[in-house]
């Protein structure tokens, strides 16, 4: 599991690489939260293009970050979600509050 942090303009992009489960969730949380403390931006895009597996623990990680950035009036979205993961997104109700885009460019455009 790796989290690749990059910036595009005023937006933090968190590229999740590997398997996102309960075991790796803690690392992802800490990595993004510590980056957000340093960063001037409060806008976050999760890049899921390199997520090879995710269970419902991933939903908890996304919702947790969404709550944090919302408190700071920031925005959060997710890009590049494969169909298998999309099923978990759908059943969790996450799509009602968090926008999902086909790619990073679309996510940035709508930030």
């Amino acid at each position: 599991m790796k989290v690749k942090i990059s910036y595009k303009g005023n937006t933090l992009i968190a590229g999740i690489i590997g398997e996102l489960d309960h075991h790796t969730a803690e690392y992802v949380r800490e990595k993004i939260d510590s980056e957000l403390i340093k960063a001037t931006t409060k806008n976050v895009i999760f890049d899921f293009s390199k997520v090879t597996f995710m269970d419902s623990s991933g939903i908890g990680v996304i919702m947790g970050r969404f709550k944090n950035v919302s408190k700071l009036s920031g925005k959060l979205s997710v890009a590049n979600v494969n169909p298998q993961l999309m099923r978990i997104f759908e059943m969790s109700g996450l799509l009602k509050v968090i926008p999902v885009y086909d790619n990073i460019d679309a996510a940035i455009k709508n930030m």
Partner: protein, 145 residues
């Protein structure tokens, strides 16, 4: 339908074994050659069941998680069992979004994911004794007729 293969695995209730257990289950069912999507469904459901055993069953203590797989030519039955604290109200625990650990950023979707990705999920639990989750899935890509 006669079982064609069987396996049993026991491992410590460490979170690093969540990945181990789901990969073992996927490798075992791959013998009958289900689709990639069907294998991903099994992996996800096993991951949810094993995670529940580790974070809810054993919580701060530790113990052994047992996984059994019975393989059929066109499906699988998987049991994940712990000897942890048990679930006081199984019906409540199975409700979507219900979590006994809201502070842990858990989504409360574990059982819902298992039910969606498998055809049938049975939960037997006794407080102080443990929990046994049995999941069935038919590989529709392999069923005849």
């Amino acid at each position: 339908m006669q079982p064609i293969n069987y396996m049993k695995l026991e491992f410590s209730s460490k979170s690093s074994n969540e990945g181990f257990a789901r990969v073992v289950a996927a490798a075992f069912v791959s013998q009958v050659d289900p689709t990639i999507e069907e294998m991903a469904d099994v992996k996800t459901a096993v991951s949810e069941a094993v995670t529940n055993a580790i974070i809810h069953g054993y919580e701060k203590s530790s113990g052994l998680v047992k996984m059994e797989c019975i393989l059929y030519s066109d499906g699988v039955e998987i049991t994940v069992e712990d000897e942890g604290q048990g679930i006081p109200d199984v019906n409540l625990a199975r409700q979507p979004m219900y979590t006994s650990k809201p502070d842990m950023e858990r989504s409360g979707m574990g059982f819902t994911v298992m039910e969606s990705f498998m055809d049938r999920v049975e939960v037997i639990s006794e407080v102080g004794k443990g929990t046994k989750v049995t999941m069935y899935k038919k590989f529709k890509s392999l069923s005849k007729g």
